[in-house]
């Protein structure tokens, strides 16, 4: 497959055509303005739907058949069930059964459990995947085995792509922990409860055909509903939509690693010293080891200063829920719940509000929550001397995991990367990121166990923390220390065959992932 490339505004070579569609190279932050109208599915009529509201069919295979699944179509699934998901695999097993070929799989993210799809890729059932791929699927794509180009998008970018008509979903398959026969569905109840279904919302609104798959059918109406049955064509009952133990954890433990705790504590102290932590502020933290510890240290500082946060954005876990219960946070705006406490709180507490990529992250809309947050803490695989960030590949160029909300969260007033300075000798601070996922002008602070680097563009932050005893150091200094500790790394060889395109929040192509054998 020969792909035409062009240099974008960040100096990266990117494909100008992705899987048969024209694409726009990255134009710089805020450089691209969309034109045109939102996409929409065909107009439906109640003539085609049962008046009693019962849209059930016997099996998923049957539903796909009735939905008219055909060669070359786009099939989407969501990842709220994480590594416990059974529906993604069921869907493609059924498609294979029907003899359908050359499908594009459009998951909101994939997990190691979806290695099942490798045989469907090999057999030609799936032509290519546009969505994050880690583990075996990532390795498959990195090795150049996929027929089409992978496309990596943020959560907000996925919504934008569907909304703008860049990706037209033919069949959306929505795993629902609870649903009624009309297709209303939620994620807070049922044996496979996952919290919410925000990642499936765009699919339900814009896809041609929508199939809800549940293992917990309730009599109409299913309350609350996050997916509206009025957008749903077919409903299927199955024995189980997934393994609850892999969907949400029983409890989420805060990391014991001294290094990660140190990074988290430094980050929390930075927020206090910089005046970011003050009454009525807002923050975003995820469920990763270090960011979870950050929330814990931040809570201690908030208690000591008598500060309350107006809202926090999650990835919610029991720790964020405890802060809500204690009154340290007034509202949780939640994109994903990670444990049983998060699910319970979302179900029972009106101050714990489910969101979707539309409200939180979509860039082609009338504002979003991500830019309204005072401080967001994120991870990264690499950050370079210009503060550019990488989150999708290792330093060898191998695909590691998807973007998630990472790019979207960079819009926060203060975007902080919490990273170890090196991982098993591999430096995290590098001359130039292997894959550009986030431009340096949006990354304000890098916190490592060896010190804190503040982007020189943020004079205001540097001035604010000048009097504190925090270890603020130029990023070049940190890199020099790593060069001595780890040795100066060789520059890995980069092949010239693209295997995936990395999109920015506005749908432009910010970088390319290259083949690695």
């Amino acid at each position: 497959m020969s792909v035409k490339l062009e240099k974008n505004a960040a100096g990266r070579m990117v494909p100008v055509e992705v899987n048969g569609r024209d694409s726009v190279p990255f134009q710089g932050v805020g450089g691209f303005r969309p034109d045109g109208r939102k996409a929409a599915p065909r107009i439906a009529t109640c003539n085609d739907f049962p008046a009693d509201g019962d849209k059930r069919v016997g099996t998923l295979r049957e539903a796909l058949e009735v939905a008219g699944l055909a060669d070359g179509m786009v099939v989407s699934t969501h990842h709220h069930l994480r590594n416990g998901d059974a529906v993604g695999n069921m869907t493609f097993d059924a498609a294979a059964d029907l003899g359908v070929k050359d499908l594009m799989w459009f998951p909101s993210a994939s997990f190691p459990v979806h290695a099942n799809q490798i045989r469907h890729l090999d057999a030609g059932v799936i032509h290519h995947i546009e969505g994050s791929m880690n583990g075996p699927l990532g390795a498959y794509c990195s090795a150049g085995k996929m027929r089409g180009l992978g496309v990596l998008r943020s959560h907000g970018g996925r919504w934008q792509a569907i909304q703008d008509g860049e990706v037209h979903v033919d069949v959306a398959v929505i795993a629902a922990p609870t649903a009624d026969f009309f297709g209303n569905a939620n994620g807070v109840n049922g044996p496979a409860a996952c919290g919410l279904l925000g990642f499936a919302l765009a699919d339900s609104v814009y896809a041609e055909k929508v199939i809800v798959v549940t293992d917990n059918l309730v009599p109409f109406p299913c309350l609350p509903w996050q997916i509206q049955g009025n957008n749903v064509d077919l409903v299927v009952e199955v024995g189980s939509i997934g393994d609850p133990t892999q969907i949400v954890s029983g409890t989420t433990r805060i990391t014991q690693s001294p290094d990660r705790r140190r990074i988290a504590e430094l980050a929390a102290r930075f927020c206090a010293a910089a005046g970011i932590m003050r009454d009525g502020f807002s923050f975003q933290a995820g469920a990763g080891g270090t960011t979870l510890a950050f929330a814990m240290y931040l809570a201690e500082l908030m208690r000591a200063e008598g500060v309350t946060a107006r809202f926090a954005r999650g990835g919610s876990t029991q720790h964020m829920v405890e802060m809500l219960d204690e009154g340290l946070i007034e509202v949780i705006l939640d994109g994903q719940t990670f444990d049983l406490d998060g699910v319970r709180s979302m179900r029972d507490d009106p101050r714990h509000q489910d969101t979707s990529p539309f409200t939180s992250y979509n860039f082609h809309g009338k504002g979003n929550f991500a830019s309204m947050v005072d401080v967001a803490v994120l991870g990264a695989t690499e950050v370079d001397l210009e503060f550019n960030g990488n989150v999708v590949t290792h330093s060898d160029g191998r695909m590691l995991h998807g973007i998630g909300g990472w790019q979207n969260c960079l819009a926060a007033r203060c975007a902080m990367l919490l990273v170890p300075s090196f991982r098993d000798r591999i430096p995290v601070i590098v001359d130039e990121v292997t894959t550009l996922c986030g431009p340096g002008e949006l990354i304000d602070v890098v916190v490592t166990e060896r010190g804190i680097a503040v982007n020189p563009r943020r004079r205001d932050l540097l001035d604010a923390v000048a009097g504190s005893d925090l270890p603020i150091r130029p990023i070049a200094d940190l890199k020099a220390e790593l060069d001595r500790l780890c040795g100066v790394p060789a520059k890995p060889q980069r092949s010239d065959q693209p295997v995936a395109a990395v999109k920015w929040v506005d749908g432009t192509v910010i970088d390319t992932v290259w083949r690695v054998d």
Partner: protein, 402 residues
């Protein structure tokens, strides 16, 4: 193994979960030296890793056989150590192969210093050593004794030697706990020349043991011989506490090990510590009488920060200057609890001011108001002020004019 015979040998951990370390295997044979290196970081450091392995092989004049290395992100000083250990185990002889020194490796030792916290790190786990200097402990102890299994003592010794040279200790006191007896003397021979500041001598029961160690070190390092901190871990040791503390001018501190001591007492170690009260008091009295610092044992319940705080208060109350730590998260708690209270600081500041005034006026006696203050109290006041500054509750420039 007959003297001079070269055999197959291995060094380093193996398995999927290995991080920041490596496994080396040597197989002797007639064919020219073959190197087989598998590394997770091959694409970044492949050449550097091979160069390091070859450097050790060359130093040992190794020309034949097969060296297999499976490495997982180890830093260079660790690679050098494990390969050297492997070749020595195989019966080969060669010089020590030393890593490039860290900028602060030559930091001189200081007799008088804060020893509030000392962090133990097992000497055969390089992964834990890498960030040791970041936690602000007053001292870091690389341990060659109880945390290292007997079969790994030789490997740990070389790792610790290399760590003394290449690791960034971040301003912490460079400490090593050596083994007893003949194994300990091998430890001393390996590390004495690489600027360890202070050595911990375990299970000391007689002054003669201390004297012997000091004599060996004098021979190895002359004027640069490290300080000594004997550890009392038995009833006999406690009985000989003063003689041990006063055994040699190189002794700077005295400490005790309550786990082993309690076992020998035949009484279980309790939270209240009644069974060890005499031992702890004796350690303090003996140390002060000999003019050295008394240092308390470790607190093993890592997750119990409240318990640790109570323990520190109790030991401080007995007169101990410091506590052993087994996890970095204990360090801030120890430092906080060792920091003088504001009333203690106020009193100390008054005394130190008075002492400085008295010195300026050439007057021998120090008076605060109408009360005379004895020299030991003045000395303690200076220490309290130092502790307060270190603990962040007193500005370093508190006594500046204007």
């Amino acid at each position: 193994m007959r003297a001079g015979e070269i055999t197959a040998a291995s060094a380093g951990p193996e398995g999927d979960r290995v991080r920041s370390d490596l496994r080396v295997h040597y197989e002797p044979g007639p064919e020219p030296l073959a190197l087989e290196i598998a590394s997770k970081v091959d694409y970044l450091y492949g050449e550097a890793i091979e160069a390091a392995v070859r450097r050790v092989a060359a130093a040992f004049a190794l020309k034949t056989g097969r060296l297999t290395v499976v490495e997982a992100g180890a830093l260079e000083w660790v690679i050098l150590a494990r390969v050297e250990t492997c070749l020595r185990r195989g019966g080969l002889d060669g010089p020590a192969v030393l890593p490039d020194p860290a900028p602060a490796a030559a930091e001189p030792r200081r007799r008088e210093r804060l020893r509030r916290s000392r962090l133990y790190i097992p000497g055969n786990q390089p992964k834990l050593m890498i960030s040791g200097g970041l936690y602000g402990a007053d001292g870091i102890i690389l341990d060659l004794e109880d945390s290292v299994p007997p079969a790994e003592k030789d490997g740990a010794r070389i790792l610790v030697r290399n760590a003394l040279i290449a690791l960034d200790w971040g301003g912490s006191e460079r400490m090593v706990r050596v083994n007893q007896g003949a194994v300990g003397e091998e430890d001393l021979a390996a590390i004495a020349g690489h600027n360890p500041h202070t050595l911990l001598l375990p299970k000391v029961e007689t002054a003669a043991q201390v004297g012997r160690a000091a004599e060996v070190l004098l021979g190895l390092a002359g004027d640069d011989a490290p300080f000594l901190m004997p550890i009392l871990e038995s009833p006999r040791g406690i009985q000989e506490a003063f003689a041990i503390a006063a055994a040699d001018p190189s002794v700077v501190a005295l400490t005790l090990g309550l786990e082993d001591l309690s076992a020998e007492l035949g009484a279980p170690r309790t939270a209240e510590g009644t069974e060890s009260f005499l031992a702890r008091q004796t350690t303090v009295y003996a140390a002060r009488a000999a003019g050295v610092q008394p240092i308390a044992s470790v607190y093993s319940d890592i997750e119990n920060e409240e318990g640790l705080a109570e323990y520190v208060q109790r030991e401080r109350g007995l007169g101990f200057d410091g506590i052993g730590c087994i996890h970095p998260r204990q360090i801030p708690v120890v430092h906080r609890e060792m920091t003088p209270t504001s009333s203690e600081v106020e009193r100390a500041v008054r005394v130190v001011r008075a002492a400085r005034e008295a010195e300026a006026r050439g007057v021998g006696a120090v008076a605060v108001g109408s009360k005379m203050v004895d020299p030991p109290v003045v000395k303690q006041a200076f220490r309290t002020v130092d502790l307060a500054v270190a603990g962040g509750v007193l500005d370093a420039n508190w006594d500046a004019e204007g």
